[in-house]
Symmetry: D2
Subunit: 319 residues, 4 copies
Amino acid sequence: MIKVGIIGGAGYTGGELLRILINHPEVEITFVNSKSQAGKPVYATHTDLLGDTELVFTDELHTNIDVAFLCSGHGESKKFLEANPAFKGISIIDLSTDYRDQSEGFVYGLAELQRDKIKGAKHIANPGCFATSIELALLPLASAGLIQDAIHISAVTGSTGAGQSLSATSHFSWRNNNISIYKAFTHQHLTEIGMTLNELQADFDQPINFIPYRGNFTRGIMANVYTKFEGTLAEAKELYKNYYANHPFTTVSDAAIDVKQVVNTNKCLIHLELHNGNLLISSIIDNLTKGASGQAVQNMNLIFGLPERTGLALKSVGF
Amino acid sequence: MIKVGIIGGAGYTGGELLRILINHPEVEITFVNSKSQAGKPVYATHTDLLGDTELVFTDELHTNIDVAFLCSGHGESKKFLEANPAFKGISIIDLSTDYRDQSEGFVYGLAELQRDKIKGAKHIANPGCFATSIELALLPLASAGLIQDAIHISAVTGSTGAGQSLSATSHFSWRNNNISIYKAFTHQHLTEIGMTLNELQADFDQPINFIPYRGNFTRGIMANVYTKFEGTLAEAKELYKNYYANHPFTTVSDAAIDVKQVVNTNKCLIHLELHNGNLLISSIIDNLTKGASGQAVQNMNLIFGLPERTGLALKSVGF
Amino acid sequence: MIKVGIIGGAGYTGGELLRILINHPEVEITFVNSKSQAGKPVYATHTDLLGDTELVFTDELHTNIDVAFLCSGHGESKKFLEANPAFKGISIIDLSTDYRDQSEGFVYGLAELQRDKIKGAKHIANPGCFATSIELALLPLASAGLIQDAIHISAVTGSTGAGQSLSATSHFSWRNNNISIYKAFTHQHLTEIGMTLNELQADFDQPINFIPYRGNFTRGIMANVYTKFEGTLAEAKELYKNYYANHPFTTVSDAAIDVKQVVNTNKCLIHLELHNGNLLISSIIDNLTKGASGQAVQNMNLIFGLPERTGLALKSVGF
Amino acid sequence: MIKVGIIGGAGYTGGELLRILINHPEVEITFVNSKSQAGKPVYATHTDLLGDTELVFTDELHTNIDVAFLCSGHGESKKFLEANPAFKGISIIDLSTDYRDQSEGFVYGLAELQRDKIKGAKHIANPGCFATSIELALLPLASAGLIQDAIHISAVTGSTGAGQSLSATSHFSWRNNNISIYKAFTHQHLTEIGMTLNELQADFDQPINFIPYRGNFTRGIMANVYTKFEGTLAEAKELYKNYYANHPFTTVSDAAIDVKQVVNTNKCLIHLELHNGNLLISSIIDNLTKGASGQAVQNMNLIFGLPERTGLALKSVGF
């Protein structure tokens, strides 16, 4: 059994990790750390876990674990490791942005990009949710060196992408039945997307125009990405199907897709269309699972030599 | 033209009042008071009013008006009138709970109960939203002295009923696709409902069992009310249709009803069924219009001798 | 491995069964029958299963299976068994209403009522969704003979309860942001609820007043049930906690509950309040899992001697 | 009073027209034609109009009217005028696509493009909903001859844009909490958008890349449009504010916008950002009002010499 510690277990990604790990057949949760909720049962915060676990949040930290998941939010992971250097000696999977630049030996944890490198890594920087959906839409093209023009992206995210803090744009009366955009052309994930594409296509140097939408749903991201492509649709499909042939969570769909196909799963579905020389790649993930905690568990599985899908054959919600 | 001042114009009921009054043909808005937003345009807060009004919030108060609407929230109206006694000399329509016990000469502003009394009133206590929907379901029965057994009520409210404050139950990620209850058997509107029924049926002394639901929609209330009834369905319908014959906003529907029929209007629709001696009365209103600001304008119209529907022939949203 | 056949696999309950069974460690799906979709991949209909299964719908029937799930809808199960009498020799779990009267040797498959009887049964009538939520709210009271007055119920169901047929009330433009009731006092599940209560409390003979709501969400049922109760809240809690102590899917929550706590799980959560001699029991389930296909798998587990939770430790959706 | 006939009054655009016209101070509705609903009250179909109108659908046609609105759907308007040539002698406002190519003397009814031409027109082709939102985003640029590069558009529409027919993608269980795209790069409105831009900028000959999204809300469209722009943001704002200075329904917002600001109104709000030489223009309308029936009434007002906002000072829904 893999002994796991969770740092920052009271937030959305911490909760999602707990939902997955309590049923993971090879995991034993050693502790769930939360400063704000210490002493309270986990189900007092993640109320859907009532009846599933008797775990209690603690403010203690232990290093007699095999892996620590850092779920405290952006900027907090660096602080945590500086304050607790003993943790550097154990496996770390960090869900924040702090090490996505692969600094300090961290490996960017996108299995579809660099599975072997992850298998041998000690410290993983788990990708961002928008970044995951967009990178999975572009990896095959980049791997073939075929991104030769500007990339145009619109993508819609569920509200859980913004975490559990209360704000004007997370108020139900505002967000219900509404649609809006934010951080157009400037979203912070553009950095990691550019870095990832350069890993596969060193000469990539095109603008990435990205319009992120706030969707009026809770879970899921749909990204629609297009760029110039000189081949046929059949060639594009072959490229994508070959690229993902050995990746269990990412599948090319011949039929059109909608985001609920992947909600509550660790899957990514991709659909391709070709229009007037533009290859349109649609990509859907669940932002909390494949876009965060599910992918983190996928990375843990790889590090510890487990089959990639262990504990991640999740029942989709369907509706 | 009726000169209007609004106190507490930056909240939900203040905004709804502004949406109605800027198009009211007999009204001139003299000032909109808001401590928190003073100096800013009204459309900076109520962003849907951009292009419709150049009004600016002020922290000043003026008594050279014909009527003041108090929209500052429960407990604030009493404080306001104590701090600003000069306002007692002008017409007041209070949207809080502060005077719904008809204390200090305030008249309970439910036109379907006591239109004539409202016409002659100076100070109006505007009914609560749940109270309005439930009272309109029961007034005809009470007027005939026919409530002789316990009353059972379930009712679902939109999120705007809880105002604009941020809370766990107003967070989109929680409330979307969710349903829950609160304050079962203890909701604060039970007091005014009981008082109102006693106005029409002095011997009424039955329990009112009320289960309020938090709906995952923004506007509207549906109340379903049942109690023992000894007559036929035809007799019940006749009683209700007669009672509301001269009330322009409340209509008995022979067909089943759903809450979107009245959203964005000042209407109440009522539907009756009879099952095994239980009369089931369904009642729908928009909590922000008929349940708050629309009814407040209806009361203003009555006070100033205008036709009751003036400025209130609102286009429903339909969908 | 248990060899499974599914009859009527293209509908909502068939799809939900497939979502659960493809990950069930003790099950092998022998065939999925669908007249309308024969020859097409299962993922063409249940599109969220793309990447998870290569099963194909068939119009053939085979009896070399251990258990058949009948998912063809109300009235169809009887027809099926009459047309295919060979199936009577194997285990049957019927998701329709056809045998919920326990006729022809069928056993009503509510484990919390009669687990031992189910363990020894060959043919199971799986309970209805509203019935499940309401019966779980009342079983402990009935087991103690304590239902001595009328029962008052309001309950809200997600849209999937109405199946996949298109109708005016399943149109998104109508149902979104809407609320309404249907079949008040006359819902067809009242029969099985009455029968079930009589199994535990033979003298039960009180009216059950039931107002079903159409909720504007997809999955889940919240039932709120009250009746007279002479004890204390502590006594009621003890009664309920004792009753469900050995039932892994039903848990009493001390905190208030909301339906998303159980969506995508086979769980039922129950919350109790006492007001003026009325015991209010709130009960939440997912209508498609605990209210249909999950409960069907629970029954299969019991028949075949598996631990009750096998294949049913489902990750909740949470949001 | 303007005497109005409505052809095809039982659909979504017919209903929306009725909601507006029953309160229009200068209109008398002479008849509402519907083959399918003839003889039934209008409120039996448009149930939110109960209590507002006693109009009854008819299968008769009369030409003693001033203007006919054609709401029967795409392809039906041409058939209607061929079968009923007498109608060609009266004013026609056609809400279908049939004459948007300005054939047979029809004038494209976008007031912000050609108000004077509309004032003098007898027959109007009312613009499409997506087309309206996108054209209003681009008219000022085109008027200055400044569209010199490809146009990139993503836009999200509410479900009412697809009308009242039942389909897999209008099923609540599918669409709720979901997001998807359709007709990418091939949407039928691209033709009228191109035609409109050419009216203002004759040399315009750039690709228009358009990704339409199906939103999980009922009313509204948000379009986000970007193209290369060589000026400053201040210059762009000045261009847009000047262009719309005399158009009462279209306003440039300095603050970011969200679609609920315009739901249930005839308004369009526009917001501008400049990023790396890309001018991003966001545009929001209500697809049923400004995108259909409200704009049709606006055109009627212009034809009959009324102030443009007559009957169109609609209360927004806000939430």
